[in-house]
Symmetry: C2
Subunit: 311 residues, 2 copies
Amino acid sequence: MYIGIDLGGTNIAGGLVSEDGRILLKDSVPTLKERPAGEIVRDMAELSGKLIAGYGAEPEEIEGIGIGCPGIVDHTSGRVIHLTNIKMDEFDLAGEFRKTLDLPVYVENDANCAALGEYVANGGGADSFMLITLGTGVGCGIVLGGRLFRGFNGAASEAGHMTLVYGGEQCNCGKKGCWEAYASVTALIRQTKAAMEAHPESMMNADAAERGKVSGRTAFECARAGDKAAAEVVDSYAKYVADGIVSLENIFQPEIISVGGGISREGEYLLKPIMEYISKNRFNKYVSKTRIVTASLHNDAGIIGAAMAAR
Amino acid sequence: MYIGIDLGGTNIAGGLVSEDGRILLKDSVPTLKERPAGEIVRDMAELSGKLIAGYGAEPEEIEGIGIGCPGIVDHTSGRVIHLTNIKMDEFDLAGEFRKTLDLPVYVENDANCAALGEYVANGGGADSFMLITLGTGVGCGIVLGGRLFRGFNGAASEAGHMTLVYGGEQCNCGKKGCWEAYASVTALIRQTKAAMEAHPESMMNADAAERGKVSGRTAFECARAGDKAAAEVVDSYAKYVADGIVSLENIFQPEIISVGGGISREGEYLLKPIMEYISKNRFNKYVSKTRIVTASLHNDAGIIGAAMAAR
């Protein structure tokens, strides 16, 4: 048995995971990210202890604890280099964790964990596998030959920060026109708001007023209900997503590209226009094609993947 | 000893190559690409025989023959799947070659060969290495952990066909806005011509009239001589090249990215603005950075790399 922990900006989610990647028990505690790092880590360790006890297991039965972190880590030493939204720079996460619960701890990037989780859920046999997560940003994890691909410095697979529109929208990373600035849910909301302003008659305005906010689902729901402006938002968003996938396919020719994140629950409604665009625009016309799928684990990918990384 | 053959649209270049990647003797014959494939292959084999005899070696001393082809090949079977400009689709290249010269033959993609050649020339110790070749198109070869990265179907590393400008210039591949449509020498010539038209006073017009053509060097030479419009062409071209490199660095974090192709002979004049752009726009601000270098083997990369692929 393993424990997988998904450290997020809002919650610390943890799970007891079987050898073959099934969650046996899970739980979460708030991150309260403004706290000192030591307190956050103590809560992670206590959550792990609670999972072990809750399942009626003994600490000796746990073969490893994997922690997925939102940022750059050194997986060889278990140290955090820099996290995006949590104050944990240059921090010995594994060492600190073991002060509370002394078990083997493995620290990994959270997008890498999610990719590993989906890879295992997909059967684990693919020659090469990429997970693209459409969320607040666009995350990416790459599994080549059954192993995480990290680059020479551990910081690889930031596909959200490849350019889609040269000189385009300003991205948080400092560069302009990143794929993330067009294909993230944050970008979709921006695109939805722009269409609402341009089309005051659109159902999207009434929908947003009723729910009190514009979300990543606003355009999808109104498009399904027949709203033309909403359908245009969905179509244009799907093409942004698809064009980035084509770039990645042309570069990697991975056996599988999996599309995850909350928006992937739109299923065929999102995947169909994406697939049409990819079929028309992919470079490879001669040999076996990359298979595009939607992710299956949703929020559990991070927990399962962190456990599988520890395995 | 090995033989490396670089099959191009104009010439078949071949070389006898030492175990450690030095060319001992080289020669070439015209491809005459409209001919039947069998004749082209016979000329390759005869060129190989000539190199062996010319060096005073015996065929038994040749441990392998590598052939770099401009297109998609199956390196496991030695078959060509599809070449870009030569009629050799679904063709048993290795088998046909051995009818004339019966030695172990290894067939590989030419951009992969060039990458392997530059990788070896660079010391061969890098964890991860990418060669970007700026020529008629934008070629790319990737070496990970000392081995060529080919994707699950052998067709990977078409980085020239990642998008740089969504919906931009039409690319030969069918998609719009590919990096190749902005960063190839073909694109540079197009950009130079547009600037010449917009700036009739520019030195570039006189230069082109004198030489009878616009080339990839026109803007560089006139910029060096102080022409403002030419300097703008060079600056804008360097940024297109650099932005694509930033995308690849963000995705791969390779230890080294090498920039090759005739235009790379512009050296610092091209590399300096590229490096300035990359330093400002790269995602990685926390850990060791990718080293950007210019390629060193120039036209010999294909020959040496094909030989190293056979090794």
